[in-house]
Amino acid sequence: MSKIHVTTTLNGDQVEYLCEPQETLLDILRNRLNLTGSKEGCGSGDCGACSVTLDGRLVCSCLVLAAEAEGREIETIEGMADGENLHSLQQKFLDHAALQCGICTPGFLVAAKALLEKNPDPTETEVRFWLAGNLCRCTGYDKIINAVMDAAAEMRGA
């Protein structure tokens, strides 16, 4: 079967790749483009570890076909820091020790960034509901929520 040629915008840069029809965007990000920040946890849209934005919408990249990315704009965890300067959310996750093994962290960061772009001043309840599709099996959620609330406050002040 002939491969599908896709041209897309990834973290602001134009990227091209060839994919099989059944390959997911997550497969291509990790295995073809070597962007391994997005993780595969469940592969069925339950855990959120593969979170990216597609035309600004938060989605699970395991539930997007690579072929669907044609002409769209994708943002991944690799586009979050500005060179050596961490995004406020990334720094606050470190400050609050909001991770243990780290597998869920990129997904949480991408999801939290999408929330703060839509709602810069969320309540704790709003943060918890927004992040309900991101699962952490190590450390629990309080530190993660605290980090997001703290980052939101810092970003509002900045």
């Binding site: 669907e68 929330l115 309900a132 599709g133």
Partner: protein, 287 residues
């Protein structure tokens, strides 16, 4: 499997119809991609309809709203006009999955997936929503309750697909609500659910009621006997109790680890009554 992303309705129909093997339609993909991964679905051709012009649009039509087949739950929830007119449909759609799933999942997909527990379907049926279907034989409009046939099966013929769903206009003093029972607070599949749409006259008497129950039968039930208990009343306790009993009587659920038959028949009355009260309050607030 082959993948195609046609940029017109006619091309999509041609592809779907001429495929000798199994073809499936891709919109948000939150069901089909999981089915592909688990082997539950193995189509020969997947037709992505998202390049079709207008498929992402929400447009006003005769006082109602036409929602394109690729409009995600997240996009629909941001639409103030639809939210004001059909708050029950919106709250049902927004219960489908996580934020990430909301970014992709669509009402049309939820309908075609034909799960008896689909959250948006009871609300859409209560709303008298109409699916616009295109296919090799032309275009047709179909009430949404005629789309699901049994769990996982829908009534669309080969080559047909939904391009939009119309949420019709409402008179004044009309509203709707949707409630479901799940054993946790978020991110689960309905054990029992109820969508209620009401129209009241200027004195608050119910003139039109539509009550649709989810997850208590192979397909969503539209219970006319329950609706008749509310029509002509101001939803007093007697009317609501009678309506609840009619819902329990109509329910024909399975018993499984998520809920026994007795539990589902009992809870469906509670949810229908609560949803009716919410819809009544919302309808009253408009006057």
């Amino acid at each position: 499997m082959r993948y195609a992303a046609p940029d017109s309705v006619s091309e999509a129909i041609k592809l779907l119809k001429s495929e000798p093997g199994v073809s499936r339609v891709l919109a948000g993909g939150s069901d089909i991609l999981v089915q592909l991964k688990t082997g539950m679905a193995a189509p020969d051709l997947l037709v992505d309809i998202k390049q079709i012009p207008g498929i992402y649009d929400i447009t006003q039509e005769n006082g109602g709203y036409r929602v394109g087949a690729a409009v995600s739950g997240a996009a629909l929830g941001e639409h103030a006009g639809v939210k004001a007119q059909w708050p029950g449909v919106i709250e049902a759609v927004e219960l489908i999955g996580s934020t990430q799933v909301q970014g992709r999942a669509t009402m049309a997909g939820n309908l075609c997936n034909a799960s008896p527990a689909a959250d948006s379907v009871p609300a859409m049926i209560a709303a008298q929503a109409i699916a616009h279907i295109v296919g090799p034989e032309g275009e047709r409009d179909c009430p949404v309750q005629d789309i699901p046939l049994s769990p996982g099966r829908n009534s669309l013929a080969k080559g047909e697909f939904i391009t939009s769903i119309l949420l019709p206009a409402r008179p004044e003093n009309a509203s709707d609500a949707y409630l479901r029972f799940i054993p946790r607070t978020e991110m689960d599949i309905a054990v029992v659910s109820a969508g209620v749409s009401l129209e009241l006259d200027s004195s608050g008497v119910c003139t039109v009621a539509r009550i649709a129950l989810g997850a208590v039968a192979p397909t969503v039930l539209l219970v006319d006997a329950a609706a008749e208990c509310l029509i002509g009343t101001k939803l007093d306790e007697n009317a609501l109790d009678a309506m609840g009993k009619a819902c329990s009587a109509a329910a024909n659920p399975i018993g499984d680890k998520r809920g026994t038959i007795e539990f589902r028949k009992d809870v469906v009355a509670v949810l229908a009554k609560r949803a009716a009260k919410i819809a009544q309050t919302r309808a009253g607030d408009q006057s």
